[in-house]
């Protein structure tokens, strides 16, 4: 870079224009190519504050079906924004092809450049190359699918009334986290296929409700003996099970269950890669803009504003700061990627001992490999270095309800590195955060009651909202629901039911 000739810097005035945006975009793209960032085509949309709040309310979905919860989110966002309690994010980027990124009108030119490097090349390349996104989401069809969902739900509202649809959606939203296939890869979707399949399913299901067939005494003797429990194995994808097996759901309700399930599945990889995704994007906006600075394309004035914002984004307040609200994924991710580069370029003896395979290797290859092959949990357990633990001064707190104190289990010293690393990694393991609830039995030949089992992690009990959720589940299943938890003796204890036994008395 030092050998390159200094070029005439781009205009660094605070006000942006579309020509200027394009010039910056072209330069950023050139540098991104230089670092082998592979991206979807960018579609950069300039929007106003109100539109940004709209986007917030629909959790970043460019097209969302109508539901009151988005209205609530909008009102909340608007309230906090108006009171000045919250600034809006500078950008929102959508995992789609073309990759849609929103730039806010109010941003200054250096901010727009930061956002373009961050979203259009950082996040975009992450979406395109990370294994989770590659195998779990289909960027080509998501917009079409959301459009299909919006129209389908609007259609249902016309046919069956807003209240009916709302009740179904409420019930599905309550179970949204349990509508994800964790291990089985979903099929790719396309709009035409989806429409066709939806028709097929509807026709098929309608043909099943032929009352003539019901009266036939279907070889009942063998059936009773053969099927001891259904499902044969516990099911963790509750919404999928409901969609396929709920006895009284109407075809359109099954379709709505499916839509919520698909949306949930689409967002699942984002939950698992928050640190990596943000870290990757921060690393690249930092690297790309510094590269432009080294080439003399951007001025000192530009860099000062950029660095100011960058520092705010990747700041990590300490545990006793009033601003502390957990570990900042931007800070952790950015510093980890910077640290990997450091280990590759200038390894210390410690690094050589801890990371013999990457110390001294080509940093760009190593970084791309890390980005493509890991999720937060495995990324941290693979790459969190002792130096970073020291820099962040990480410490491990064990809070056991059997004790009346909390214990410092490990700090940033030689004995603590391993433990802190594995604990931090498990802190990002979704199966530790989300509760483990599985359907173990649906009594299809008896009273059709549905039994679920909660399997506690580290003796953490289920939160109090469970009864409300069971009501929603009951709305979909329409027969008795039981929720059990296994005790130490391996016996199932009922911890919740809907309708609850009290109601019946």
């Amino acid at each position: 870079m030092a050998t390159q000739k200094k070029r005439k810097p781009l205009d660094d005035s605070a006000d942006w224009t579309f020509e200027l945006l394009e010039q910056y975009q072209a330069e950023i793209e050139r540098v991104a190519k230089h670092y082998r960032l592979d991206t979807y085509v960018n579609q950069i949309e300039v929007i106003t504050t109100e539109q940004m709040m709209d986007a917030y309310a629909s959790v970043g979905m460019p097209i969302g079906y109508n539901h009151w919860t988005f209205g609530k989110k909008f009102i909340q966002t608007e309230q906090t924004y108006k009171r000045g309690r919250m600034g809006l994010a500078y950008e929102i980027v959508i995992n789609s092809n073309p990759c849609i990124a929103y730039l806010m009108e109010e941003n200054t030119m250096p901010m727009q450049a930061l956002v373009m490097a961050h979203a259009c090349y950082g996040h975009n390349s992450f979406f395109k190359s990370n294994y989770l996104f590659k195998s779990w989401t289909d960027a080509d069809s998501i917009i079409d699918y959301l459009l299909f969902a919006k129209n389908y739900i609007a259609d249902c509202e016309h046919k069956y009334g807003i209240d009916e649809v709302e009740a179904t959606l409420d019930a599905c939203h309550a179970l949204m986290n349990h509508g994800v296939d964790r291990y089985k890869r979903p099929q790719k979707l396309s709009l035409d296929e989806e429409l066709k399949r939806q028709k097929d399913r509807e026709e098929y299901l309608e043909s099943q409700v032929n009352t003539l067939w019901r009266t036939l005494p279907k070889n009942s003797q063998t059936a009773d003996e053969k099927i001891p429990t259904f499902p044969a194995e516990p099911q963790e994808n509750i919404l999928y099970f409901i969609e396929k097996n709920a006895p009284l759901l109407k075809p359109w309700q099954r379709e709505i269950v499916r839509i919520v399930r698909k949306v949930s599945q689409y967002f699942y990889p984002q939950k698992q890669t928050q640190v990596m995704n943000e870290g990757w994007a921060c690393f690249w906006h930092y690297t790309i803009l510094n590269h432009l600075y080294d080439e003399g394309l951007v001025t000192d004035k530009f860099m000062l504003e950029f660095l100011h914002n960058h520092t705010n984004v990747v700041a990590q307040p300490e545990y006793n700061s009033p601003y502390y609200s957990g570990i900042n994924p931007y800070a952790l991710g950015f510093n980890m990627f910077m640290d990997i580069r450091r280990i590759c370029e200038n390894p210390t003896d410690e690094d050589k001992a801890w990371f013999p395979d990457i110390a001294g290797s080509n940093w760009l290859d190593t970084l791309h490999f890390a980005m493509e092959t890991f999720k937060d949990e495995s990324f941290i357990s693979q790459y969190l270095s002792p130096k970073l633990i020291r820099d962040f001064k990480l410490f491990h707190i064990n809070d056991n309800e059997d004790n009346n104190y909390v214990e410092i289990a490990a700090i940033h010293n030689e004995q603590g590195y391993q433990q802190i690393r594995s604990m931090l990694s498990s802190q990002y393991n979704l199966s530790n955060i989300e509760v483990n609830i599985q359907i173990i039995d649906a009594n299809v030949n008896g009273d059709r009651s549905l039994t679920l089992r909660y399997i506690p992690q580290n003796n953490v009990p289920l939160g109090s909202s469970k009864d409300e959720v069971l009501k929603h589940l009951h709305h979909l299943w329409q027969f008795d629901i039981k929720l059990v938890e296994e005790d130490e003796q391996g016996k199932d204890i009922i911890i919740g039911a809907c309708p609850s036994p009290k109601d019946e008395n």
């Binding site: 579309f18 945006l21 394009e22 793209e29 950069i44 949309e45 300039v46 929007i47 109100e50 539109q51 709040m53 709209d54 309310a57 629909s58 109508n66 009151w68 919860t69 209205g71 608007e78 309230q79 259009c120 807003i162 309550a174 179970l175 307040p317 300490e318 545990y319 006793n320 700061s321 502390y324 570990i327 001064k393 990480l394 410490f395 491990h396 707190i397 064990n398 809070d399 056991n400 309800e401 009346n404 104190y405 909390v406 214990e407 410092i408 490990a410 700090i411 004995q415 604990m423 802190q427 955060i433 909660y454 992690q457 580290n458 953490v460 009990p461 289920l462 909202s465 469970k466 409300e468």
Partner: protein
């Protein structure tokens, strides 16, 4: 590759539908909050929206999440004092630090109330949903007609004061372009010919001279097209439009004798606020007349009406008489839509009640759109109520209700003004 799209001019209200859905879903809670808010307003303050407060737990969307307790492990940054094995007392709940992920997933659903504001229109809509103006049909028939001058486009002639300069000059430009188009075209070809000749090496003096003459003649012709012509002139056109009168007067009558305490007056005040708000939905200008009475009636301002204390007996007819006088004096029934609301605790001098009933029947009811009477009391009804009952039987635009506590006010109001076809008939 990147495409830029300017979306700033797209509609901003993508979330409007969702917002309406939200209001729709939480209508009952919002209405409850509204009922509280009404009390804090002045009678005639209708130009602001309202802050709505809903307890957050009513809004939460449940999902399975981890509860408190168990054996938890957390990593925090910024160790400044701890070493391995330290025991520290467990921080009390609700102190942000150390909140586990399980609790964090539940956050945003704290105990705070969910406060948001609704616009004036939303406020009024919610307040008066399903309500109908009393005697609306009849109103529309005999509403007084007034005339209003409105603009109705442009016309070709009129008085000079009404000339619309922009429109006229637009016409002038169009006419000039149309009239000179062929000449300009000709001029252009001549210009081209001329420059060709001038660049030619051969001598073309005579031709050039001829061409120049032609060009000059053409330019003269173009210049002669007038800049503005009477043909171009456009005048603003006005027409008279019939509009139904939008004036209403609302009489608030209240008993302020010793038996009426402040709490009772507050109940009455709410009723007046509701009525006023209700009327503003239909009428543009509303006068409010406050009449208070004990043994004598007096016209007062709002402050005095609600907040000054007097003692004495009660003669309700005095207020009705005063109202009747004021109508005669200031509010001609053919110009004004007259509404009245009377509030009392039911106490009245027994011999006066038949007189009240007469006054209403003879003088007031024939002139008013609607007369409502509310009795705010915990005790048994007295003579006034019984007399009024008789009137209510025969007069559809007379309504009376009994209010016991503050909570009754809103239902009673709704009850009084609910969409009722039989009442209007």
């Amino acid at each position: 590759m990147a495409n830029f799209i300017d979306r700033r001019l797209n509609s901003k209200n993508k979330s409007m539908v969702n917002r309406q859905r939200f209001l729709r879903r939480y209508k009952s809670q919002i209405k409850k909050s509204l009922a509280d808010a009404i009390n804090k307003r002045g009678v005639t303050d209708v130009n602001s929206g309202e802050n709505i407060t809903i307890p957050k737990k009513d809004l939460s969307e449940p999902f399975f999440h981890q509860g408190e307790g168990g054996n938890r492990n957390r990593i925090h940054p910024g160790n400044d004092q701890f070493t391995t094995g330290d025991h520290i007392p467990r921080p009390k709940k609700q102190q942000g630090q150390g909140s586990g992920e399980g609790e964090a997933s539940d956050s945003g659903e704290g105990d705070d109330d969910f406060v948001f504001s609704i616009s004036k229109d939303e406020y009024l809509n919610l307040l008066f949903e399903d309500l109908e103006l009393p005697n609306l049909e009849k109103n529309q028939l005999d509403k007084l007609i007034e005339y209003k001058t409105v603009r109705t486009g442009f016309c070709a002639d009129g008085v000079p004061a009404n000339i619309d300069i922009v429109k006229s000059l637009q016409g002038s430009i169009a006419r000039r372009i149309a009239m000179t188009a062929s000449k300009r075209r000709e001029l252009k070809t001549l210009d081209e010919e001329l420059s060709e000749l001038e660049q030619d090496n051969l001598e073309h003096t005579t031709d050039i001279k001829k061409l120049k003459k032609q060009i000059k003649a053409l330019k003269n012709k173009i210049a002669k097209v007038p800049f503005i012509d009477t043909f171009d002139l456009r005048f603003r056109n006005y027409a008279k439009q019939a509009v139904p009168t939008s004036k209403a007067v609302m009489f608030c009558l209240m008993d302020v004798s010793g038996s009426m305490d402040q709490a009772t007056k507050d109940i009455a005040k709410r009723f007046y606020i509701l009525l006023y708000l209700f009327l503003t939905r239909t009428y543009k200008t509303i006068d409010v007349v406050y009449i208070r009475h004990h043994t004598q009636a007096k016209e007062v301002d709002e402050q005095e009406f609600f907040y000054s204390q007097e003692t004495g007996g009660t003669i309700a007819s005095s207020a009705l008489e005063l109202m009747s006088d004021i109508i005669e004096e200031r509010y001609n029934a053919s110009d004004w839509n007259i509404y009245a609301a009377q509030a009392s605790d039911g106490d009245n001098w027994a011999d006066d009640s038949p007189h009240c009933s007469e006054l209403l029947k003879q003088k007031i009811l024939p002139q008013s759109r609607y007369f409502s009477y509310i009795e705010i009391t915990q005790r048994a009804h007295q003579t006034l109520w019984h007399q009024y009952m008789k009137i209510a039987e025969t007069n559809p635009h007379f309504a009376m209700r009994h209010i016991k506590t503050v909570d009754d006010i809103y239902p009673v109001f709704r009850d009084l003004f609910k969409k009722n076809t039989t009442q209007a008939a």
